[in-house]
């Protein structure tokens, strides 16, 4: 960002959390394992949440059905990877990649296409009416989930990691799962691509401007509706990608996974500030780290820890860590 006095405090929260927890955990290697796991989870959540926060920021649309695209992406991946078992069974990483990348791309394409339909039929008729948006997008998610059950069946389906992505590598005493590293890399690539697009391209400029003052962007001659459809589809596609990654992370997919992850996503974008990509990243990393640290230190408290985190942040900054101005 070109901003000479960029607000670094929220960014500092991430290493702060990591460091605070270190004495509680005690062992450096365990800490490292948990931190990498937390970052991986956080980045996957970021991939999912980024689209949602931009959709809200740009068009003031609250999509309570975002979870549908997560589940959809994951299920599509089971089909694609399932049909490429000779590639996934191989213990050569590049062969595994040849299976996983198409799975990701197909998942993104399907999620994006469904996103297009979702925007047209569910979201568009209720622009500007928050209450109806909440109700209708939830309804849309339920319909979608049921359709997933019709196509893939109502039960859990395993999504095993390809051979070469299993297992861990050792750094000193710490065992770090290979997949987590891959997830971190993919997540960072997505983040990098988003930041580049938002800051270096004209479309990104339009999005950032539209988040602040939609009317003025239209007055400058841009058809913001098209922009919005594009962002919505992209957000859905990213959610689909996140779904694939999440599914591989859990190694199993269920039709309800969308609704479950939905709650986490909301916590993340509330922490981050509705409309802020950087905020979504901070929120996601904090949530991911928190989930892993408390999962180790006090498992019963895990879900509450995220809510407590959200409450604490809101007490500090009621609009999230990076509130978008001009709203």
């Amino acid at each position: 960002m070109n901003n000479p006095d960029f607000d670094w405090m929220p960014v500092a929260l991430v290493p702060l959390l990591a460091l605070l927890v270190l004495p509680l955990i005690g062992s450096g290697s365990t800490w490292l394992t948990l931190t990498v796991a937390g970052l991986a989870m956080g980045l996957i959540i970021f991939v999912i949440a980024s689209g949602l926060t931009l959709v809200f920021g740009l068009m003031d649309v609250l999509n309570f059905g975002h979870g549908l695209f997560i589940a959809l992406g994951a299920f599509v991946a089971t089909t694609v990877l399932g049909s490429m078992s000779d590639w996934t069974m191989s213990d050569q990483l590049w062969r595994n990649m040849v299976a996983v990348f198409p799975a990701m791309l197909v998942a993104m394409a399907v999620a994006g296409a469904v996103g297009l339909a979702f925007e047209r039929f569910i979201v568009k008729p209720v622009y500007g009416q928050h209450l109806k948006q909440i109700l209708i997008t939830m309804g849309g998610m339920i319909i979608g989930e049921e359709l997933i059950k019709v196509i893939w069946g109502p039960q859990q389906i395993p999504l095993p990691l390809p051979e070469a992505m299993r297992g861990s590598i050792l750094i000193g005493d710490a065992a770090i799962e290979k997949y987590r590293i891959i997830a971190v890399v993919v997540g960072l690539v997505v983040f990098g691509a988003l930041v580049w697009t938002l800051n270096k391209t004209k479309i990104g400029l339009l999005i950032r401007a539209g988040v602040q003052d939609r009317e003025m962007v239209e007055s400058l001659g841009y058809r913001i509706r098209r922009l919005f459809i594009g962002v919505f589809v992209m957000g859905s596609a990213l959610a689909g990608l996140g779904g694939v990654m999440w599914g591989l992370y859990q190694q199993t997919v269920t039709p309800q996974m969308g609704a479950q992850v939905n709650v986490l996503i909301f916590i993340v974008i509330i922490i981050g500030g509705l409309g802020s990509t950087a905020g979504a990243l901070i929120g996601a990393l904090l949530v991911g780290l928190m989930a892993n640290y408390t999962g180790y230190l006090a498992p019963k408290v895990a879900l509450f820890s995220n809510i407590a985190l959200m409450a604490a942040i809101l007490l500090w900054r009621p609009q999230g860590v990076y509130p978008v101005t001009n709203r």
């Binding site: 609250l62 339920i142 059950k149 939905n262 809510i307 959200m310």
Partner: protein, 362 residues
């Protein structure tokens, strides 16, 4: 006198008034009109949901707040009864203690949630309540020593309310006079009383202020009403009524588990009923709950027929499978939100108002 009973909030539509009368009589005499276990179950569920949805309408329709934590209070009420009777035995004291503790807990939680709404915007609030409700559901499953975990708690009720208690050996009008009947009428009386209370609340000066806040918060604050206080009170009242509805559920089922009262599906059901019935009307809860419960119970049968009939086309058959009733409910929900925003009650009143303006009998 009827006007005073209904707190001056009349149906305002002849069709609606008749409908309500029919429903009232139907529910009052359900055990005799509709023999059989299933029908009575449906009737009891209608009663419970009338209270649950009407209390949600107070929050959503009259105060304009979207909260997904409503089922949490429902669950607290149900678990209150369940845990108390499990630990203290099937006595009236246990019921009192259970309900009492549940109400206190609901009060406190609603207070905290209500006060929190001061700092955050409505959209944040909705998402936060979703998160809190989710967490509560997980908590209920995890504290298994206390709540029976995933399996839930099965318990007995005081003798008068339990099915084995019969105060006459022969049947009266074809119905066994047993504890089940007593429980049903207890629920009936509670439902009617609570609904009338809610009508009184929303038609009081307090209720009017709520509606003013819903319409224009800024102006209400400018006139001098402390919006946060009113919203918090509304939130607390809504929670308390939902809690009692939960207790009613526990009394009827003599069982409670996380899925029975805390599940997301129930929240969706409540939303669906309040939308179809009509937000901000109270009567919408009555009409909606009846329509919904009847449809839900018999929809699955209908779907089963459809599924078997289309067995030749497997994809169609799968779409019509009775397990997929939620799909069709979802479709109905989405269509209702678009085309039926004022709900059944709203539609009926509109028709009535139009007829009046044309000089026709309403």
């Amino acid at each position: 006198m009827l006007t005073r009973l209904l707190s001056n909030d009349l149906p305002r539509s002849r069709t609606l008034a008749m409908l309500l009368l029919v429903l009232l009589l139907g529910l009052a005499f359900a055990p005799f009109l509709f023999p059989g276990v299933k029908a009575l179950n449906v009737a009891a569920k209608v009663l419970i949901f009338i209270v649950l949805v009407a209390s949600f309408d107070l929050l959503l329709g009259y105060t304009g707040i979207v909260s997904f934590a409503h089922t949490m209070f429902f669950g607290i009420g149900a678990y209150g009864i369940a845990i108390a009777t499990t630990r203290m035995g099937p006595t009236w004291e246990a019921l009192a203690v259970g309900l009492g503790c549940a109400l206190v807990l609901s009060f406190l939680l609603a207070l905290v949630i209500g006060l929190f709404s001061l700092r955050v915007r409505a959209i944040f609030f909705a998402m936060i309540t979703l998160a809190v409700a989710s967490a509560f559901l997980t908590l209920a499953s995890q504290l298994s020593e206390f709540t029976g975990g995933e399996d839930g708690l099965t318990f007995k009720l005081p003798e008068i309310l339990s099915p084995s208690f019969e105060f006459m050996d022969e049947k009266f009008l074809g119905v066994m006079l047993d504890g089940r009947l007593v429980t049903y009428y207890l629920l009936f009386v509670l439902a009617v009383a609570l609904l009338l209370t809610l009508l009184r609340i929303v038609n009081s000066p307090f209720g009017r202020v709520l509606q003013a806040i819903r319409e224009n918060e800024f102006r209400a604050e400018a006139i001098g009403y402390r919006v946060v206080v009113y919203r918090t009170i509304s939130s607390i009242l809504s929670a308390l009524f939902a809690c009692v509805a939960g207790a009613m559920l526990a009394l009827w089922l003599r069982y409670n588990g996380p899925d029975t009262s805390l599940s997301f599906e129930i929240m969706m059901d409540v939303l669906l009923i309040v939308v179809i019935g009509g937000m901000g009307t109270m009567y919408g809860a009555v009409v909606g709950a009846t329509l919904f419960m009847v449809a839900q119970s018999y929809l699955q049968d209908l779907l089963r027929l459809g599924s078997e009939a289309t067995a030749a086309l497997p994809w169609l058959s799968a779409l019509l499978s009775p397990q997929r009733w939620l799909l069709w409910l979802g479709v109905l929900f989405v269509l209702s939100v678009y085309y039926f925003p004022t709900g059944v009650v709203g539609r009926l009143r509109l028709r009535s108002a139009r007829k009046i303006s044309l000089g026709l009998p309403s």
